[in-house]
């Protein structure tokens, strides 16, 4: 059925493969980006929701993981 409908779009068969390749490339890129993150930064970001109860933030911006 799909060949009838799409017959005028040349190379439509390649769509599913193309999208799959596209996704896996994207996935690998994100994976590499996530793994390459600095550990201090990851810890800092992970703890971000927990800091807020003190009502005073003396260590925002990147000071805590860049300078310390």
């Amino acid at each position: 059925m799909f060949k009838n409908i799409f017959s005028h779009i040349s190379g439509i068969e390649i769509y599913p493969i193309l999208t799959l390749i596209f996704f896996f490339t994207f996935f690998l890129a994100v994976l590499v980006m996530a793994l390459r993150l600095d550990k201090k930064f990851v810890n800092y970001m992970g703890n971000l929701p927990l800091e807020n109860d003190e009502n005073e933030f003396t260590i925002n911006t990147r000071d805590s993981y860049v300078k310390s």
Binding site: I5, I9, I12, P16, F23, F26, F27, N60, T61
Partner: protein, 720 residues
């Protein structure tokens, strides 16, 4: 205004500012209120599903209380009112704290709040009046759609300006989910709502048939994704660490979770249209991407559950964590089940049955409901600077609602599988074993009854919560503006262009998100728009006559699609029961498509000519008198109310704009044709001893029903 009064250990000046808790309070009570309303309407329609056969008075014979009109009210109330307000309460609370900034503009915040509530109220008025666009979860009429766009954009501006004015350099994972939700919902809402008005309360979508179906389910699926899932994942990433008092299990996993999820979700829409007239290519794509979705979904679930590692003793004590564990578990179950239902062989059994209803309620009651309750129990004591009034009541609520979900879901799964199997059952002689659709329905009534008890339990639990939250608020004191200090944003050096850089740059982040979600949409939608003129044309398929068009609009307005499909799948069990399977070319004049997603009653695509006019007349008046044991509600008002014949001219004109080939200037002649066709039906009814007028709604509806699926029948009989 911020003022500098202290310095931190790095010698940076600290600014004093305040968080807007008032807006969080408003959204909190709105969540509670609309939650109760949404659950209550759900309970009412659950009872209505078996009432016609057992408590016949329960539909009151009143149009605005009928199932077809209340069902959209229930779904919209739960999705956009209950879950919507819960999202906003969570976003307004967590964003301010994660970005260390007050929301950019208090007036915009208030405009967002009151605008959204006004939209909800107008939905609660228009749905019972039968004003609808007839597309699931996008039923609201066009002026309300415009209002939604305006309020949504106001929310977006407020959110993005707060991002610009933030004091925290990097955006935490919760914020990415909020951004993705906002961006995607904007795109979905605009594309799916494109329609041309015929009056202030009515419009036709610009897409028809197959195209409309694809756009609608691209929207419908992603409304689930980007309204019920991604914002709630944002809430999970913020409130779960808060409640458990420990950071999320893996921040790196959350990066992978986020990007894979938003990439994959957008492709999966066509799994709602398996075995339909949608091109197979699009169906396969939907299936493949749905199965791939398990990975990021479970990545998120695992990240949530493992956040509680070493804290399971707390889960035993703390009702908030209990709610969260059930919520995340329900998320895991629903996101495993979804891909399974997208496998064609499973879908062949499950689709159109109650299985789908069970699936969505595991998601809505379990994931959205329980997570919202957790957030409410956490946030109300925080906002009112006190402790929860009663942990015992919260525990009681937890157990009642958990048991309620089970009592709801199990019988409905049972009903779904039972009916799916019964539809497909053949006798050894090769005939359908349950030829009469009604036989498969009466079987389900006990399950429907038990399900409503589950709903009642869930509702009861929410009343306990209301009491507990009100008492909590009363015993504490509310701080409308919570004063805090933080250093202003300083750019200390430049990051390399990696993910850390992206987390510190809202605008590139938004663009990246938009790109990721558009890829899937474009791959799916564009080919089908390209083939628009190329859906295999069937020459015998002609536009609806004006009277049929009026009848079709009544069909849409009454929400018939909530119980009847108009799409016969290419299975022997369906072609035996209903007739020739549905072809893409048959729907080219269907604005909107009415394929439906649930068969509480039989498919109607080939109902045309199956019964005499008098049968339909009597059946609408009192279905049980024709089909004893039927659970279809009565529609007595269709016999008394008149249709608006004057509106037909503008309807025809809009249809012509949409390339429906009516003759030039036909809108002038349409009224006359309506009268002629109506009179023919009235005369036919008179032969059966029924006296009525040609301007009654029932006449138009009969004209439409008798037309359904007959274009193809004509070919068949001519061929023979």
């Amino acid at each position: 205004m911020a003022q500098n009064d202290t310095v931190n250990e790095h010698g940076n000046q600290l600014e004093t500012f305040s968080y807007d808790n008032n807006i969080v309070r408003l959204f909190t009570w709105a969540t509670v209120l609309w939650g109760v309303v949404g659950f209550l309407v759900g309970l009412i329609i659950a009872i209505q599903l078996y009432a016609p056969a057992y408590i016949p008075w329960f539909d009151f014979g009143i149009s605005w209380l009928s199932f077809g009109r209340l069902r959209p009210l229930h779904t919209n109330a739960v999705i956009f009112a209950f879950v919507g307000n819960a999202i906003f309460l969570g976003v307004y609370y967590s964003m301010q704290r994660l970005l260390k900034a007050r929301m950019w503009n208090d007036i915009l915040s208030k405009f967002h709040f009151w605008g959204w509530q006004l939209i909800i109220v107008s939905a609660a008025i228009t749905f019972p009046l039968g004003l609808t666009q007839g597309k699931e979860y996008a039923e609201l009429i066009w002026p309300i759609d415009v209002a939604i766009a305006v309020v949504w954009i106001a929310f977006g501006i407020n959110m993005f300006m707060t991002l610009i004015k933030r004091r925290e350099k990097h955006m935490y994972v919760a914020i990415w989910f909020y951004i993705a939700s906002w961006v995607t919902v904007t795109v979905l809402h605009v594309v799916n709502s494109l329609s041309i008005p015929t009056s202030f309360t009515h419009s036709y979508p610009i897409y028809a048939g197959v195209q409309d179906a694809l756009v609608q389910w691209w929207y419908g699926h992603n409304a689930v994704a980007f309204f019920l899932t991604t914002p709630f994942l944002g809430l999970m990433y913020y409130f779960l660490p808060k409640a458990a008092e420990r950071p999320v299990y893996s921040y790196r996993l959350s990066i992978l979770h986020f990007w894979s999820l938003i990439f994959l979700y957008i492709w999966a829409g066509p799994h709602h249209l398996l075995y339909t007239s949608l091109p197979e290519w699009a169906q396969s794509l939907g299936t493949v991407f749905s199965i791939m979705l398990i990975a990021p979904s479970w990545g998120g679930m695992i990240n949530g559950l493992l956040t509680l590692r070493g804290a399971w003793d707390k889960v035993r004590e703390e009702p908030i964590l209990k709610f969260m564990v059930v919520a995340i578990t329900a998320y895991g179950m629903a996101t495993f089940e979804g891909p399974m239902l997208s496998i064609k062989s499973v879908n062949a059994l499950s689709h159109y049955t109650d299985w789908t209803i069970a699936h969505v309620h595991v998601g809505a009651l379990g994931w959205n409901g329980m997570l919202t309750f957790a957030v409410l129990y956490w946030i109300v004591p925080k906002l009112w600077n006190t402790k929860l009034y009663s942990r015992k009541l919260a525990n009681m609520h937890f157990w009642i609602s958990t048991i309620g979900i089970l009592v709801y879901a199990i019988p409905i799964y049972w009903a779904g599988v039972t009916q799916g199997l019964m539809w497909k059952q053949f006798s050894p002689e090769g005939f359908l074993l349950y030829r009469n659709f009604l036989e498969t329905v009466t079987h389900l009534v006990p399950m429907y009854f038990i399900r409503s008890i589950g709903g009642l339990l869930f509702l009861t639990g929410s009343f306990i919560m209301v009491w507990n939250l009100v008492k909590t608020a009363k015993q504490g004191h509310f701080t409308a503006n919570e004063t805090v200090k933080a250093a202003p944003l300083r750019d200390v050096g430049t990051d390399k262009p990696n993910h850390r850089w992206l987390e510190g740059k809202p605008v590139p982040f938004i663009i990246a998100t938009l790109f990721v979600i558009l890829v899937g949409g474009l791959f799916e939608i564009v080919p089908l728009q390209v083939i628009k003129s190329n859906v295999p044309t069937i020459t015998s398929v002609k536009p609806y006559t004006p009277l049929e068009l009026i009848g079709r609009d009544i069909y849409v307005a009454e929400g018939c699609y909530t119980c009847h499909s108009q799409l016969i799948r290419p299975f022997r069990s369906e072609t035996e029961r209903y007739g020739e399977y549905s072809k893409a070319g048959e729907f080219v004049y269907d604005f909107p498509f009415q394929w439906g997603s649930k068969r509480t009653g039989p498919d109607l695509h080939r109902v045309g000519g199956k019964y005499p006019h008098a049968w339909h007349y009597q059946h609408m008046y009192d279905p049980q008198s024709i089909s004893p044991g039927s659970i279809m509600p009565r529609y007595p008002w269709l016999l008394d109310d008149n249709y608006d014949i004057e509106a037909v001219a503008s309807k025809i004109k809009v249809m012509q704009t949409l390339n429906v080939p009516y003759p030039i200037d036909y809108h002038k002649a349409a009224k006359g044709d309506v009268e002629v066709q109506a009179q023919e039906i009235v005369n036919d009814l008179a032969d059966s001893g029924i006296t009525t007028n040609p301007d009654r709604k029932i006449i138009a509806l009969i004209a439409y029903l008798q037309r359904l699926g007959t274009d193809i029948k004509t070919i068949e009989s001519a061929g023979r």
